[in-house]
């Protein structure tokens, strides 16, 4: 486990990676990636028990992470590379022909660290729930983590999954929503109001926490709190406030 200061240093490096990757191909989604950088760094360098070499799809006795809002792939790729899943110089191939670092994450090109494709929104929670239930069947006590965009939860499948996870007591799942208040066509409140997110998830039977996703210490403390709530019959939701483009002053 790394200190908060070390984690902040890694986050600086990851933010540099993100800007370089997206700038090199003039495409990709830097805003959400920069906003979620602290969360990803905390997850891969502090919170999760995971193994980068060799990467194993089944992840027995490992914590698993699923990115449901696949468009913030730059931050995930950078963190995976920095955590040793593949060479850092491969980040330069992002979105280029024949790359393993596709525009949106995929298992199809065999990139270590990725366990499902995402990009078409709303699907990741269901897959994570299945993986969490497989862990229970296998007697594996490790946890499953997910990340979703706030705009993403406008997809109906998210709420099918929310209902299912509570009904089946999937209490080895910690989901996080990146509440940055923005989506492609404007502020979420204008495009499609999300309403009271805490009340919604609580009504669906989840244990809900809130955290500031751009304060490393707060992320670490909140994730520890979430972990302590696992195994109690309820799935856990963290509502994570972030700023899109965090760390780049003109974004």
């Amino acid at each position: 486990m790394k200190s908060t200061e070390e984690l902040n240093q890694i986050a600086h490096q990851v933010r540099r990676d993100i800007v370089r990757m997206v700038h090199a191909v003039n495409s990709g989604h830097p805003g959400g990636s920069l906003g979620c950088t602290d969360f990803f760094v905390a997850l891969y360098f502090h919170v999760m028990k995971h193994q980068s070499q060799p990467f194993e799809m089944d992840g027995h006795q490992e914590d698993l992470f699923f990115l449901s809002n696949g468009h913030i792939s730059p931050v995930w790729y950078s963190v995976l590379a920095r955590a040793g899943y593949f060479p850092v110089n491969e980040l330069a191939t992002f979105r280029k022909l024949n790359t393993r670092l596709q525009g949106h994450p995929t298992t199809h090109e065999g990139l270590p660290g990725i366990r499902m494709a995402s990009g078409s929104l709303g699907q990741g929670m269901s897959v994570a729930i299945g993986a969490a239930q497989a862990k229970k069947l296998n007697g594996d006590k490790q946890l499953v983590y997910t990340l979703h965009g706030d705009g993403e939860i406008q997809e109906g499948q998210i709420w099918e999954a929310a209902m299912y996870a509570a009904h089946h007591k999937v209490d080895n799942l910690i989901s996080t929503i990146d509440v940055n208040g923005q989506q492609i066509d404007g502020p979420t409140e204008k495009v499609m109001s999300l309403g009271n997110l805490r009340a919604k998830w609580e009504a669906f039977g989840w244990n809900v926490l809130e955290m500031d996703g751009n304060v490393m210490q707060n992320v670490i403390d909140s994730m520890a709190q979430a972990k302590a709530l696992t195994g109690k019959g309820q799935p856990i939701m963290i509502l994570m406030t972030t700023s899109m483009g965090k760390g780049v002053d003109f974004m």
Binding site: S118, S120, I129, G130, A131, E160
Partner: protein
Amino acid sequence: MLNFEVTGSNDTRSGFGAGLLEAGKRNPNVVALCADLIGSLKMDAFMKEFPERFFQVGIAEANMMGVAAGLTIGGKIPFTGTFANFSTGRVYDQIRQSIAYSDKNVKICASHAGLTLGEDGATHQILEDVGMMSMLPGMTVINPCDYNQTKAATMAIAEYEGPVYLRFGRPKVPIFVPADMPFVIGKAWHMHEGKDVTIIATGHLVWKAVEAAKDLEAQGISVDLINIHTIKPLDVDAIVKSAAKTGAVVTAEEHQMIGGLGSMVSAVLAQHQPTPLQMVAVDDSFGESGTPEQLMQKYGLESANIIEAAKAVIARKG
């Protein structure tokens, strides 16, 4: 040789239920999910035998496909169960991204395919499912013809690594495939040797093709009869060899002409062995309410239609 021993009559969905139970006994990693249709899919026996390996999903098919994909991570072999319409069209993108593109070992098991669902009408009678599933890269598509073949197919796909779409139905149909016949994915069953016309049938149309072949043989027309249970990957070799021999081909299926067995056999022949072909299939139409028998008659999926198609295609030989 066309005298297949009929050992009874049952629905293909019951073959699935029996096969699933057997697959579950053989392999502890086999798990099953159902979207509020346990009785219709005949999944009761598996659920009772392995309650901890059975997941009720409720009426939420999109979530079911995702949960199934996730269960493979950790080594499970998930079988999903719902009607064919809700197994394909309703969840196409979930299957595409979370299962096919993600290379997940999920078995999508779909009952009440085609017109023979009957009275519920067109909202439930999907005739496009084979086309949709066949277009997905890496997806295997299987449409067995009787109880025994469906049971054998269900056990075979449990042992196969990769996504599979298994399509079966509701009406009771004769059981004529020998119970001990091994099911080999992608390998056609050459049911009868003949020289005048090839009849290639899948699913519920196989028995109707047997009846048609008997009639044609009685009229002095020699029939090469092939059962294609695996629509993808298609047994190209069996199709090309037979077409080269007879010079005339009829396809028969409970599906749209576009995107079904007939389309795929046409593509194979056009590329490898150009041969006149007639399709017995639904011609760009939705179904409707009615008894299965009435619907099969109205939409031209009877033995009489196969006989008519055979004579028409023979007349087109050069």
